[in-house]
Subunit: 121 residues, 2 copies
């Protein structure tokens, strides 16, 4: 599929049902990556401060448990949105940051925000 596809071309293809070849629909794939109670907040914190340590993230995201932060980070890492660098000092520490792939989500969040400003009271 064309990486320079314009919005108008996209809409035309959607209305023709061109994207019906499910299984690797990019929208569904991405929605799955962002699914879960904490994923977006983690990405958001990493947009504000980059890199961040495990403990910083935990402090910044109120209510999250160790278990959920670990699991969410592992999944974001497996999806290539977040990278993890481990420093083997004592006490050991770890730095999490957005990958290029993760950073490239910002235009999507921008469109979501503009939509929200218009339609969410």
């Amino acid at each position: 599929m064309n990486k320079n596809m314009t919005y108008e071309e996209y809409v035309e293809k959607v209305q023709k049902g061109i994207f019906t070849d499910e299984g690797n629909c990019p929208v569904i794939s991405l929605l799955l990556m962002l699914q879960g109670k904490w994923k977006f907040q983690i990405i958001y914190e990493l947009c504000i401060k980059n890199p961040m340590r495990f403990g910083e993230l935990k402090k910044a995201i109120e209510g999250i448990t160790n278990t959920m932060l670990t699991n969410s980070l592992r999944e974001l890492e497996a999806d290539g949105l977040v990278s993890r660098i481990q420093f083997n000092e004592i006490p050991p520490h770890v730095e999490y940051s957005l990958t290029e792939k993760g950073n490239a989500l910002l235009p999507i969040f921008y469109e979501m925000t503009m939509w929200g400003l218009q339609y969410i009271p």
Copy 2:
């Protein structure tokens, strides 16, 4: 917040942590609306054919049960993304279609698709 905010202004605000006033973060709100196994597929089908009947949707979305289609449609309706018109004939039928708010999601799906074309193999 400014509805004409440019992407550059948005990125600047994100990095300053301006959107931290959670509770009505537009991105999280929207992600919640699209969460669930079937929501996006329903919206997608309504982009292809508009309006659609309950039975048509059920046939188009393979594997969905009555229960999940009903629940998902009810939630999409409650979120204002889909509208439902009931025709009290015999046998009765119902037409579902995207609202303006629902249609306005297309630019977001476009950005998601462009992201996917670049980063999903």
